[in-house]
């Protein structure tokens, strides 16, 4: 493809400052230059007229579950045969890219190899989808979050890898790294979704978490964890987990420990699933009374306090997470940006910076997530100004163009899902 210059754009570069008029030249898969209007040499370039709309970095989902099927009960994921599950995951990956997410950081796969396979196919160019960091299934203890076995029923196929004791955990971690995952996920705490106060309990001992961490660190895999409980977060910090999810019940000195590690770790509350379960899941049997029993309203009230303090202390907090349940479906992930604004007090620009600049860091790139010379050309052209209304992303028709790695996934003027192939490069979004 010829070099592209996006002209007549308002550029949100990912740093969190207001969009500024400008233009961007993309050569190959990189942003080559960013300049004020009418400054760039147009020789041998195709022009993309942005029509005054906002050009920004592609979005990054920090807690992706692209193997989720909009399920009601976890066991449904286990009941999907592997072959069908690969197809569903491929569709979800494509849906995420259609929705403007040019990168995904997985928070767990439902089956051991599914995400690895999809990631590899995307990287090889055989499937459309975002950049992916593929995760293991959740490694859980007997009785931990994700263990849905029943004593009388030996035939169980779930989403988890059950591992008890340091040796079993080592084997599980080694196996998943052998199969090619980027990140190992461990459920260190329980969750109130399962039973009352389970979210405040740890499911693994120090020795068990240490074993898993030692293996992952030795073999070059990243570590992430489900950790609502204060003690679970402390275990994660002690053993140098890179990503800690939820942190609902932290208190006291844990804030200091997190602050001390702020340059090494990433956090994500995944507040969307709590919100949807509390307010929108009644058709699925989760009434207000059930939600109260789960303490979901208390968790929603607590989240701004916890994450306000974490932000004040300079921790890197990212939006996203746990979309793929029936009442918080796949493809509605951008709603998390609105939650960050309405519940956690972010400005739209701040949450979009978290979803781009911090997302690039989370993905492990030093050249992803900003509109800056030398950075990878993952770009979105958004109708209107998402720094004024972050809800724009909830309707993907507002994504006028999607570029990943310097290639258009959606060209201006083309409907990506129709499969229509443009007969020429559309040079204005007004055509």
């Amino acid at each position: 493809m010829k070099p592209q210059i996006f002209v007549n754009a308002r550029i949100f570069d990912g740093e969190g400052t207001p969009p500024q008029p400008g233009e961007v030249r993309v050569v190959g898969n990189r942003i080559e230059a960013v300049a004020p209007p009418d400054q760039l040499d147009r020789t041998d370039c195709s022009l993309v007229d942005c029509g005054g709309n906002v050009l920004m970095p592609g979005l990054i989902e920090a807690h992706a579950h692209v193997t989720y099927t909009n399920f009601v009960h976890l066991k449904e994921l286990g009941e999907v045969p592997p072959e069908e599950h690969v197809l569903i995951t491929a569709q979800n990956a494509r849906l995420m890219l259609d929705s403007g997410f040019t990168s995904l950081y997985s928070a767990a796969s439902s089956k051991p190899r599914t995400e690895v396979v999809i990631r590899n196919a995307i990287n090889a160019g055989t499937l459309p989808g975002p950049r992916m960091r593929a995760a293991s299934p959740e490694i859980v203890s007997t009785g931990g979050l994700g263990d849905e076995r029943q004593l009388h029923n030996p035939h169980h196929q779930g989403i988890e890898i059950i591992a008890d004791g340091p040796d079993e955990i080592r084997r599980a971690v080694r196996t998943m790294i052998r199969e090619g995952v980027d990140t190992i996920k461990m459920n260190i705490s329980g969750d109130n979704f399962v039973r009352k106060n389970f979210g405040r309990q740890t499911s693994y001992t120090d020795a068990e978490v240490a074993a898993g961490a030692e293996e992952a660190h030795a073999r070059g895999a990243w570590l992430s964890c489900h950790a609502r409980a204060d003690a679970a977060v402390r275990l994660a910090l002690k053993h140098k987990f890179r990503v800690i999810y939820h942190l609902d019940f932290i208190e006291g000195e844990t804030f200091d420990l997190l602050e001390a590690a702020k340059d090494e770790i990433f956090l994500a509350p995944a507040i969307g699933i709590i919100y949807a379960t509390a307010h929108e899941a009644e058709p699925w049997g989760i009434t207000r009374e059930v939600a109260e029993h789960m303490d979901l309203y208390k968790m929603l009230e607590n989240c701004p306090r916890v994450y306000g303090e974490l932000r004040k202390r300079g921790l890197r907090v990212l939006p996203g997470g746990d979309y793929g349940f029936a009442w918080s479906p796949m493809g509605t992930n951008a709603r998390d940006f609105e939650h960050f604004v309405t519940m956690l007090g972010y400005t739209p620009a701040e949450v979009l910076s978290a979803a781009t600049k911090l997302g690039g860091q989370l993905m492990g790139y030093d050249d992803l997530g900003l509109i800056k010379p030398g950075y990878l050309a993952d770009l979105l052209l958004v109708r209107g100004d998402p720094t004024e209304d972050v809800r724009l992303f909830q309707d993907r028709d507002n994504l006028l163009a999607i570029m990943k790695d310097g290639q258009f996934h959606k060209r201006p003027g083309q409907g990506v899902e129709s499969g229509t192939v443009a007969t020429k490069v559309v040079e204005s979004v007004w055509q």
């Binding site: 307010h279 699925w284 929603l300 209304d389």
Partner: protein
């Protein structure tokens, strides 16, 4: 006065060829019948698949109100309710503003702030 109506792209999800047709038909009916400007917002899914044919009324700083199990006869009532919704400061509708037929179809009221109080 512009009113946002959220329409599901995937409704009914297991519709055997009908997926997405409900929102398209509703959008056409709204355009024909409404005197105020309707701004459709096409979301992937409103999470009410067990009770399909769903829309939500939504606006910044207002409660999102979801209606499920809708039919063609509900369109006029929906427009009337949308007008009331647009005029409220917070999206909460009184009993007088909600026809019983639509009140019975509310499957979610979602706040735009953390709260334990009921709608």
């Amino acid at each position: 006065m512009t009113v946002e109506i959220l329409l599901c792209r995937t409704c009914p999800r297991d519709g055997q060829g009908e997926v997405g047709l409900f929102s398209e038909a509703l959008q056409r009916a709204l355009r024909r019948m409404a005197s105020l400007e309707i701004r459709p917002v096409h979301v992937q899914c409103l999470g009410s698949c067990r009770q399909p044919y769903t829309v939500s009324l939504d606006a910044p700083d207002k409660w999102r109100i979801r209606f499920s199990g809708l039919g063609g006869r509900d369109v006029e009532r929906l427009i009337e309710v949308a007008q009331h919704y647009a005029a409220t400061p917070d999206g909460l509708l009184t009993d007088r503003q909600l026809p019983p037929e639509l009140a019975a179809r509310i499957t979610a009221r979602s706040p735009k702030f953390t709260t334990t109080r009921a709608a």
